[in-house]
Amino acid sequence: MKHLLLKLEPFIWLMFGQGILLGTILLTGWLLVVNLGVPLGVVSDAGLEYERAHGLASTLIGKLVLAALCALPIWKGAHHMRHVFIDAGGGDRDAVIAPILYLIATVGTVLSILAVVRL
C-alpha cells in the first residue's frame, strides 16, 4: 500500500495542486453567485433558471468546467485532511488514513464525471 501510494504521489500532487489553483479560481465565482449572491437576493436568479442552466451545463465546455469544479476541490480537501491528521501526530497511521481519503476523492471524481455525463 505504501509503495502504491509512493508511486501515485505525483498524480495526487497534480490533482491537489489543481484543486488549489483551478478549484480556487472556479469556486470564487460559483460561491459569489450561486451560493451567496442569489440566495441573498443580491444577484438576480435569472441565470440559474433550469432550462438555461441545463443547456449551458450540457455543452462540452460546461461539462468539463463543472466536473473540475466538483472533483478538484475534493482532491485538495482530501490531501489537506491527510496533512491535518499528520500534523496532529497521526503520521504513523498515514498508511491507513491516506488511502481512505484518496479513496473518497476517487469516488468523488467518478461521481463528478457521472454527474456531468448524465446531464
Partner: protein, 249 residues
C-alpha cells in the same frame, strides 16, 4: 562603556548522565547592548556555569553550529541581538531533533539524509583537470546559486511541521542541496536524484508550509527548492505517461 542590559536567560538543561528529562535553568546575565544571544550564553559558560553545553564557532553566521530556539523561534544565536529581545530570553535546543545534551542536538540523522541525495556533481564521465574549467554563464550560475548558500544550520528542520511528524522526510536543506546539483549546468545526475526524490520521505511529503524559508538565515529559500523538485517530479511523471520510455531528461 555603554549601559548594560540585564537579561534573564532561561536555558534548557539536559544531562543524560543525571536527568531523566530536560529541565530549565535561569541565569541573570548583564549584557553589553551590542551582544548577540551567543555572547550571553558564552558569558554564562565562562563566568556563571561552566557545565553548560552548546555548539558554536565562527560567531559570524556562516558555520551553522549555533542554531537554537530563541523565544520559540529557530535562530542563529550569533546573529540575534539581545537588544531586540524582551527581558526574558528563553533558549531551547532546536525542535524536531533528539537532544544530546543541554542545547546540543543530534545531527547524525541529517548527515544520513544529506548523503542520501547525492550532493555532488554526477557525470557520465569525470572531466579531466587538463580540460580546464567548464564554461558556465552568469545566468546558469544564478539558477542554482541561491540553493548552494545553505550553511546546514538546521533551522529549517526545526521549523518544518512535516519534519516533526514524518521521520523519513528528507527535509528542506538536504533536498535543496540535492536540487542545487541537479540544476547545475555541469551536472548530469538529475535523473538519478529524481529517482531518490520519488522514494520514501520524498519531496511529496512537504506540504509547502514555507516555514523553512521563513526561518532560513541565508535566504536559501529551501521551500522553493523542495517545490521545484516536486514540480519536476510531476512533469517527469506526466511526460513518462505520454512517452513511457525516454521521457526523462
Amino acid at each position: 562603556m555603554a549601559e548594560m542590559l540585564i537579561k534573564k536567560f532561561v536555558v534548557t538543561r539536559f544531562d543524560p548522565d543525571q536527568d531523566d528529562v530536560p529541565r530549565t535553568e535561569t541565569y541573570e546575565v548583564p549584557c553589553h547592548p551590542d551582544w548577540k544571544v551567543l555572547d550571553g550564553l558564552n558569558h554564562i559558560k565562562d563566568e556563571i556555569d561552566p557545565t553548560l553545553a552548546h555548539r558554536w564557532s565562527c560567531r559570524m553566521a556562516v558555520c551553522g553550529s549555533c542554531g537554537m530556539n530563541v523565544n520559540g523561534e529557530p535562530t542563529l544565536t550569533c546573529k540575534k541581538a539581545v537588544r531586540d529581545l524582551p527581558d526574558t530570553i528563553e533558549v531551547t535546543p532546536l525542535s524536531n531533533f533528539p537532544v544530546v545534551r543541554d542545547l546540543v542536538v543530534e545531527l547524525e540523522g541529517f548527515m544520513d539524509k544529506l548523503k542520501s541525495v547525492k550532493p555532488w556533481i554526477i557525470r557520465a564521465k569525470e572531466k579531466a583537470v587538463e580540460e580546464g574549467p567548464t564554461r558556465q554563464s552568469p545566468e546558469e550560475l544564478e539558477e542554482f546559486k541561491q540553493f548552494s548558500m545553505c550553511i546546514n544550520c538546521m533551522l529549517c528542520y526545526a521549523a518544518c511541521p512535516v519534519v516533526a511528524n514524518e521521520p523519513e522526510f528528507i527535509g528542506p536543506a538536504a533536498i535543496a542541496l540535492g536540487h542545487r546539483y541537479s540544476i547545475d549546468s555541469r551536472d548530469e545526475g538529475a535523473a538519478e536524484r529524481n529517482e531518490i526524490f520519488r522514494g520514501e520521505g520524498t519531496v511529496f511529503s512537504c506540504s509547502y508550509a514555507n516555514e523553512c524559508s521563513e526561518v532560513c538565515p541565508k535566504n536559501v529559500d529551501p521551500a522553493a527548492a523542495v517545490n521545484q523538485a516536486k514540480f519536476n517530479a510531476v512533469i517527469d511523471w506526466a511526460t513518462g505517461l505520454v512517452l513511457p520510455r525516454g521521457g526523462k531528461e
